[in-house]
Amino acid sequence: MTRDLPAEIHSALNDEALQQALGTFTQAVGFLRAQAIGELSDYEALRERARRIKAETIRNLDEHLERLRENVEARGGRVVFARDGEEALRYIRDLARAHGVRRIVKSKSMTAEEIGLTEHLEAEGLRVWETDLGERIVQLARERPSHLIGPALHKTLEEVREVFRRWLDLDDPPQEPKELARLARTALRDAFFEAEMGITGVNFAVAETGHLVLVENEGNIRLTARLPRVHVALMGWEKVVPSLDDLAVFLKLLPRSGTGQKLTSYVSFFMPTPDLHLVLLDNGRTRLREDPELREALYCIRCGACLDSCPSYQAVGGHVFGGSVYMGGIGAAWTAGIGSLKEAAEFHGLCTSCGRCTEVCPVRIDIPWLNTVIRSRALRLENPKHRRAARVLGEIDRWARWGSFFAPLSNLLLGSRIGKLLAARLLDLDPRRRPPKFARPTFRARARMRSRSEQKTSTATTTEGVKLFVDCFINHFEPEVGLATLRVLERLGVRVELAENVCCGRAALSQGLLDRARSLAKANARRFLPELRGGATIVGIEPSCVAALRSEYRHLLPAEEARPFEERVLDVMEYLARPEISERLSRLLPGGPENGREKGKQIIYHGHCQQKALGVHREIVAFLQSVPGLEVKAVEVACCGMAGSFGYKREFSELSRHLGRRLTRLVEAQEGEPTACGFSCRTQLRDLLGLRVRHPVEILEEILSQGQRREGL
């Protein structure tokens, strides 16, 4: 069964109740999380530690699992290793039979979802009550959870009432959530007392002591584990942590990241008892562990922060952006890693690689990278159109050369109805999108032409110099941004030399063309490593290219070759924000508003996702705001929705526009000229606003040259 993703996206975007629920939930949790994380003075150190603990534990897995087994058994508990879902199901079913169990209470567990535990036991004639309220609602509605933490967040009050009407046989279920919850409490309390078996998941199993640690708010886990005679705890083996000290790290991170609480109402340290059956599930995890590219998915502690912060998830929810069990970008990695690449291939495309998830992930999993890997593997499963599109879009550097060479003819062709039709037919691109226009001459050519005349008169007075990385977008589509950059840098006394680079590999990466990206990275490494090691600085204009060099090369090159790129490549805005440079700029701009100029130039600034992911967004905004004569309002939206080729693909065009409109609504509510650093962001804004949108460096050039004229220089 193949999914019709565009149709699913369409109905999610038009489901008003869903939109409202997603909005309320993700915003509220996002707010609380930021607050709770803000209270941790050692947050970054904790994340680092959490990551290291996970990495170490998974490396020496057998040792920790053995220790756990010893400690559980020493207290009389049983430990069972289940190779797959089948084995786990069989064990639990036989156990129920052997104990004459007929009724089971169960708490929320993604691992149980993974093996279809509830359905299986019900099919065996056992009664199973989900006891987490949200999970119970989902169970009664015969649906799947749509969020790791809030399984029923997609259900409206009306829908919940309907579920209660059928469940408790009520004519007119109460309107008040409080009353509904009270009814559920009473009904489920009976179930707790009647059930002979309780099934829980596990958040952390402490090898050192044998404690099974579970984190919850409702209290149903405590009841499930302790009221019935038999306790089954089902856990994926990745949940083992070596010691109580290690556990402390995760207990500080999980509730804060998950719900924005310092601690949840209950954190239980269950001691194994003789009626405990601890089922350690593999079910593909060993395969994932042996997969070096996806392994870090195993570090996930299922807090859900990545979902709440993901623009695509916020827009369509976990049923659309998800597989049969796991959701979001991390869910794609899990689905591909332990289950089926094919299933992951059906929804991983919703990841726009914006990187917001990694920013909030308490174990800093590089989820966009995992999705790049999946993309590369899934390419062979794609239909021919998409495969072709990947090749065309991923090799932009190759064909853009011809595009520029034949411009304006190439533009006429691509912009024509026939051109768009062909793009739609052959590549499944959105015919409503205007293709970018090739420029002739290219930036490189224009920079060379002007250099002799213009450069001599420039005021380059210092010895410092940078190499300007010439990205494909500026070079072929927007030379004026490149030229503005050159002029601004030179006016500030910086010697600029164009780098003789090849494409950074960003386009190839975003299409999953890993081999090609790798060979481009190698070529750039050959060209620049000696200089970078000698202390040279590379400045880039397009943030996604800067990010490719700075953080993606880590995956493409040996560590010692990637590090110089990580350390010595800067976004041009970041470079300008350096104190010594920005001071120079201020000195050149004496005409700030306080010096008698009526009003500053007003701009609205939209930062690029990758600048946020690299952690340079804030300093860039602060820098722009400090520029005399400039009034800057930053709009805070996660992603413009264009994300490279994402917005061009027919599959995602509706979602892309939806995300874009979240941005334009904010832009239109303000006064000022919209600006953006990213080529895609500018394209998206141009398409939706119907005007050319500039890079902030162009604005700087403008006010610099105005200042120059005024001073009579």
Binding site: A152, L153, K155, F193, T209, R222, L244, A248, S265, V267
Partner: protein, 193 residues
């Protein structure tokens, strides 16, 4: 806690604990041990409780237990204690009174523990009201210290623990925060100073 400074630090800590606890929906009273029985009785009366679970094993020694028992019976409450594994008798209890191993000022957390199916477990989980009686000096500043306390207790011989931070809650219906989902709706700390 001899010096004046330490005592002051203690006061601050109590304040912090009370503030944090109230932020997560709990409440607290600070009083001397002699005053505790009547405060507890009053709390129960306000809620028209009839059956009360008592977990004497976990209660601090400073709490005059006999006075508490007498007071509760006088007031007409049915006091349940020493309930072992048979919990069905506890189904309609309106309140549970326990002690705690420690508390954390930083997060308003109570640390309880003992035998997995001990009285502390039920009394802190089944009824709609949970009253936890602690000594002021049991309040530790941070989670790390509470974890240390847990480790000490753990070494004494495999125990079960729970950290309780506020009453039971859910937001699963229409993203509305509700207290008292499966566990207590009210959590009241009685702090003996």
């Amino acid at each position: 806690m001899g010096s004046k400074q330490a005592a002051e630090g203690g006061d601050e800590r109590i304040e912090r604990f009370v503030r944090e606890l109230s932020q997560v929906g709990g409440a607290a009273s600070v009083l001397d041990p002699e005053g505790a029985p009547s405060r507890i009785a009053a709390l129960l009366k306000e809620r028209k409780a009839q059956k009360v679970m008592l977990d004497p094993g976990s209660l601090p020694r400073e709490l005059p237990l006999k006075a508490l028992r007498d007071r509760l019976t006088e007031e007409g409450f049915e006091v349940l204690e020493g309930f072992g594994e048979d919990v069905s008798a506890l189904r309609d209890a309106a309140a549970g009174v326990t002690g705690a191993l420690a508390a954390v000022a930083d997060s308003g957390t109570l640390l309880l523990g003992g035998a997995p199916r001990g009285g502390w477990q039920w009394a802190s989980l089944l009824p709609p009201l949970h009253i936890a009686v602690i000594r002021a000096d049991q309040i530790r500043p941070t989670l790390d210290e509470a974890l240390r306390a847990l480790r000490e207790h753990s070494q004494e011989g495999g125990e079960e623990f729970v950290w309780i931070t506020g009453p039971s809650r859910t937001a699963d219906i229409a993203i509305t925060l509700l207290l008292g989902m499966h566990g207590p709706r009210e959590l009241h700390a009685v702090i003996l100073s």
